[in-house]
Symmetry: D2
Subunit: 366 residues, 4 copies
């Protein structure tokens, strides 16, 4: 994630007109050697191994948190207290308690803040938002989303350590629910409004794995798969599903929305396309339209290449950096703020509660 | 459905070598005029308006039930008692009680029987079954299926009467749960084994409609949409969803199965294709393969045209007729029998119970 | 082709309201045993081994020619002279001289006639015609079409005999030019008007093959691949290509038309879809639309199933039979007549001449 | 193109380990204001309005030519004479004479050189090359490629000037033949070897346009559309086509290769995918496979994100910059060199000659 964010800050100022030009001041990592190598490759001016130094530094205006989930809360709270602008990788905290503390800290300090739910700013997804906001779909009946991966199917894969902390609940908080479904939920509530209640199931297919560092075979304590039924406040019905056991899918994040007048479908594997069905079309010629979202009038695309030439995954981060810096220039935060991200954590928490209790669970804050 | 079945009986003997050549003896409809017109168009030898006459006729060996759901049980039970071979449109009865009576009748009488869950015999679906049975997918982790339509979105659409009996619960039994999800469930259990338990939600988006015959505005008593989470006996997790409110989809019946070694996807809108991902492929060249199921070694296809030339929806019925007549020649029934179809009804019943009680429900007979 | 045509005649009267109900009177084949078996399977009333008997029979009104190409001219001319209605498989003759004789015969006798260029009547192709005729595309700039197969790549495949007469020029006339490109040309001129001139190349990749009957290794005298550039009378430019050496394609017949306002694409491998791009759409939402041509207002589709349920290859023949019988009731022929099919032969002839002379060649009759 | 190249130089050193870190020294443009604005946005150290200053500068090691085609030859020759490393946008010159002079200059001076035929280094295209080089396709029968755009259809579009120099033959040299087909030809010869001879046609659909600067309505002297048949040295047959009049296509650059054992298809509109058909697959499961070229073992992809996350158009330039700098470290040029690009110019020249003479034309240098 360090590369993704660094690239975003650098490219934002090449391709967008911004009120600030970001300076890559200090890179911080517990491992000095890795930090130095990274600093050299990316042009960071200095290196730290203790993140607290950054909160104390006069040269640092903005702290961007891209470390494992178990560090988010502590760093963010300290950064906010030090009056720094704070950007944080998703999910916010490992659980609602941590997330609430983070929200409280940035709001008390009055510092600008945002969480890297980057997928909102893929142009096709932003276009979907625009179509929803214009009311093109009419009453929404259905929302259907999934995030499918297949990288943990092998029982030989260890858990824990630097590379595999996502499989360790003490670091990650949860498994696919917080790692993958959090993205689905963030996008869904942004597009379709609040979720009222959920009925969920989770599964851990491989029950025990060797720990990468200790070598001990230990119980796996994260969710490998998570699916839930939901009702939105607007009356629409939803299915959500995420797994790391869907053979053939690397990062198949999709959503489909069915409204009275039109429907939308999007897929991260072809992120530059938006599929759109408009019932208002002449009946003889109705069909799903594949919009190649690369024209100058599509969101963000006037900053890139000529029509037909696609951009990729990393550009969602560049767009978020650009929007955030733009907002900063106006003394504001760019969405999603910590508070908005907390709402997502309330849903993931309800999902895990429902899976444990086998009951429908109301989402907190609703 | 009368046309679909009549066409199936006629074409089966042209394209398959069968032990019997079906004779279209008598068409029965409450409306004599329609029956006569149909008989003329299709070459039926005679016409009846009272189905009881068929059970009494010596000339009739097989009774095929293609009338609305509220007539299935009575006709099937009488036909079985009269020693006739019985074929019945799906679902079996309007509820498990009716279905159980039907199973009991055919088993007591010892007559061959089948239910027209026709989608099993689309060549691509039969190929999926073959791959599953050969164990090509390994342990199954996920089953994901939906059946999406959009024909009842308009609030001006009336309910009831001859054309719209599917919107009247007293005739249809249920809404999309029995009409659409029954197909998904039949295929799913055929491919992936029994379903243990479900958590469901249903919705009726348009609460009141005018009745087509009486003209009275009355409450709508069927489910417009139905979705459920499920666990299969083999440990795999599933999501099922059906609706008549998914704008842009006419009959989008899809299923996807993710196994340890391979995954399968199929879609009724392109029914002649099977999508297949094999993790055993060389890593550089892994991908989803689109199999155009039109070669001579694909199920049923040696009976049709040269490779590359597709067949359609009606052929699933022709295949079922051919398989059933073939089985009859050996004194057997062809799958799915009434008993197998009853298992599907137990699942739809559990779904409706779960939606009403907001609890996970165990499937009966498990 | 006997099965395709017999099926067409039978099903046409079940699914369409026609002025005549075809009776399968006599099947004729040089091989009596095969004729009898076929008659039994399809319900033909009688069998002949000499086609001249049919031209003499009072019971026969219509003669349908589905035999190899080298028999077309002789049978058609005799049938016309005997006053029979004549239907003929494509291409008309083996060369323009034969085809001209056939046209002369039917026109002199004044008998109704048609050639089975069946692809015109696939609903998606008929819809393309409708859109073209309505001027929806505006000025046409480009036509692009191909027909790709891969069944003759193996050098072990023999040539000649009953099954492989298509590889024998003395029987077939030409290779892919007459067998495949004839379809592309017929559709192209129907949709886009006359072709003025062509520049072509052909290739025979495997130069010698064993003859299936004699066992002798002999030179291959048909074209395995054929491609040409063309200019239409309306000023549009075209590329045409056909081959039996395109690995991975069974019967990939595609065409694309680019007009000032809109573009169309169709593909036989998914024959129930038409891809349509309309530049008149709102700029933000422009894209290629995949029209599932299965709605009641699509050509021919009100005769079949509910929306979303596709038909297949054989239905193109059923539609042609229905249209022809309908036209017969009005004392007319249905398009394409022998005369129209002759125009196609003039183009294939120009293609072969151009390939031989390495020159641009004007199409005869233009 | 200035942005594309600048971005490539900057990002190459962030994502690849390189022997040199490029320094953006001087940006040169005839328009000082635009140069200064660009320098500020991208961090160039200085600005020039006369390119000769760069050839004279001691601080400049490498000159990258991204200006209109009519400037390529003069700058490249001067740069080579000054001993600079030279990179040049495609096509090399406006005609073979210019290109030959450029080749002579760099070879005489012994300076490293390359032409930005960037599409070779899209990972899916590089993967195609790898498969070809490994002989996976066997004997090649067919090559089929097109480059379709639709941006000049309006007759109101002017020609000439800064933005529209591609429509002015005196600046661009040719129309789509040199602008688009040059890409198709470069890739084709890289993958499939030399082209022997061609038969071509070209068209200028809109004959007169207003000049953007003078306002005068003048004849259009470039080719709007260009198509040709070709034979490769390896015996395979090809069709090439490019146009700016294909409604619905922004930059649809595609190629398909059919070999004895396997086939490949690629499409710039979904540049991260390679479609592959392997006849060696088990017959029951043969089909076109859609390879999502985002895995670590795919060409270039280990430098980017985790599997499933796609890169875009600009990355093809980054890869070329990285490869070129890598080669420079070893004292070599990276392919395609000026000499290789000259071979492409010989083909485009033969195409234009053939279109004018209506004859097959042998490609020079063959």
């Amino acid at each position: 994630m360090g590369r993704t964010h660094s690239n975003a800050f650098l490219k934002a100022s090449h391709f967008f007109e911004l009120p600030f030009t970001p300076v890559l001041k200090t890179i911080c990592s517990r491992n000095r050697e890795r930090a130095e190598s990274f600093a050299k490759q990316w042009g960071y001016e200095s290196v730290e191994t203790d993140w607290r130094k950054l909160t104390e530094s006069r040269d640092v205006d903005l702290i961007d948190i891209a470390s494992p989930n178990d560090t988010h809360a502590e760093i963010a709270v300290a950064a906010a207290k030090a009056g720094k602008t704070v950007m944080c990788e998703k999910p916010l905290g490992r659980n609602p308690a941590e997330s609430e503390a983070m929200v409280k800290a940035v709001e008390l300090a009055g510092v600008a803040n945002t969480v890297w739910y980057n997928y909102r700013r893929i142009p096709a997804v932003s276009l979907a938002k625009q179509l929803m906001d214009e009311g093109r779909l009419g009453t929404i009946f259905h929302y259907r989303t999934k995030f499918l991966q297949d990288w943990t199917i092998s029982s030989d894969l260890p858990q824990g350590g630097t590379a595999l902390w996502r499989l360790d609940a003490s670091v990650a908080g949860t498994g696919v629910t917080g790692d993958l479904l959090a993205h689905n939920i963030d996008t869904a509530m942004w597009l379709n409004g609040p979720i009222e209640e959920v009925s969920a199931m989770t599964e851990t297919f491989i029950k025990r794995r060797k720990h990468q560092i200790t070598g001990q075979v230990e119980p796996v304590n994260i969710d490998d798969a998570s699916a839930f039924l939901a009702r939105f406040q607007n009356g629409s019905l939803a299915t959500f599903e995420a797994t790391r056991y869907a053979r053939g899918h690397k990062a198949l994040y999709t959503f489909e929305i069915n409204g009275e007048h039109a429907s939308i479908f999007w897929d991260l594997h072809d992120l530059h396309r938006l599929e759109y069905f408009d019932h208002g079309d002449e009946s003889l010629l109705r069909g799903w339209k594949s919009i190649h979202v690369t024209d100058g009038d599509h969101p963000y695309m006037k900053h890139w290449w000529v029509p037909g030439l696609q951009i990729g995954y990393e550009h969602s981060f560049i767009h978020q950096a650009a929007d955030f810096l733009q907002a900063l220039g106006e003394g504001k935060s760019a969405s999603p703020t910590f508070r908005e991200a907390l709402m997502t954590d309330y849903v993931t928490d309800a999902v895990l509660q429902s899976a444990a209790s086998r009951q429908w669970v109301k989402v907190r804050g609703r």
